[in-house]
């Protein structure tokens, strides 16, 4: 058991994995972000009180909504691409094309979500 890497952090940061690498890292960041925020949200709702209400008030602010919507929607749409490609492996041949389709779906949907969050926040 156990793996060893002979790659320094500097080399790792210079790795240019392009589109697939970007989706991988965003999927991971979004997943961890959701795990932290949803756990905090559940704990805040469970314990309530001034600390709980303070945390849930932060969650309702438009800045926070924009961030969490990015995490959730990207993770969901990217996850659907991973699921479809993994369950039908012949499609893996078209991974890069699938990533372009993914962005074409994500950008308008997320843009619309940001628009409605902002217009609700500023009464537009």
């Amino acid at each position: 058991m156990g793996i060893s890497r002979n790659v320094s952090l500097a080399t790792a940061l210079r790795y240019k994995g392009q589109g697939p690498m970007l989706t991988f890292i965003l999927h991971r960041i979004g997943g961890m972000g959701m795990a932290i925020f949803i756990s905090m949200h559940l704990l805040a709702s469970f314990f309530g009180g001034s600390v709980g209400n303070f945390i849930n008030d932060i969650y309702m602010s438009w800045v926070f909504q924009i961030i969490i919507f990015f995490f959730v929607m990207f993770h969901a749409i990217n996850g659907l691409r991973i699921t479809i490609l993994d369950l039908w492996p012949p499609l893996l041949e078209y991974q890069r094309e699938a990533i372009w389709v993914e962005w074409a779906v994500f950008i308008p949907l997320y843009g619309f979500a940001v628009y409605s969050i902002l217009s609700a926040a500023f009464g537009g």
């Binding site: 156990g2 949803i38 756990s39 959730v72 893996l92 409605s116 217009s119 609700a120």
Partner: protein
Amino acid sequence: MNAKPRTLSLKQRGLNFEMLMWLFTRLSALAMYGFFIAGLVGAFWMGARHDMNFADVMRWAFTTSYTHVQSTNVPDLEPWAVWFWRLVASGMVLTAIAHGVHGLVVIADDYIISSGGRKFVRFLSMLAVASMSFIGLYILWTY
């Protein structure tokens, strides 16, 4: 392009716990899409077209708890708080916790490589699944 198949047969790969969890991650993603679509259809059924914006509908469908529509213009919260939506939300929460905690274990395994460390991560993950599932269900059914 290339005729040679890139995937191994199931027999060559072996069917172990990691393989089952790999499959669970994909299938639970599809299940969560199912819960999401149920919430989405239900929201429109209950009048979301007039009383909610896009982000509100997304937040409701993500977990169908009536507390997620309290800040909207929905006139009557009653239909949003029925047992059916609590059941859908419970399904979403339990699936999401299992999917998410396994995801955290996968991430931790990229950095924690000692056998004992990995065992400890697994112990913590079981604790997290049990406690968060209890808290999630408690919130959904008592509020």
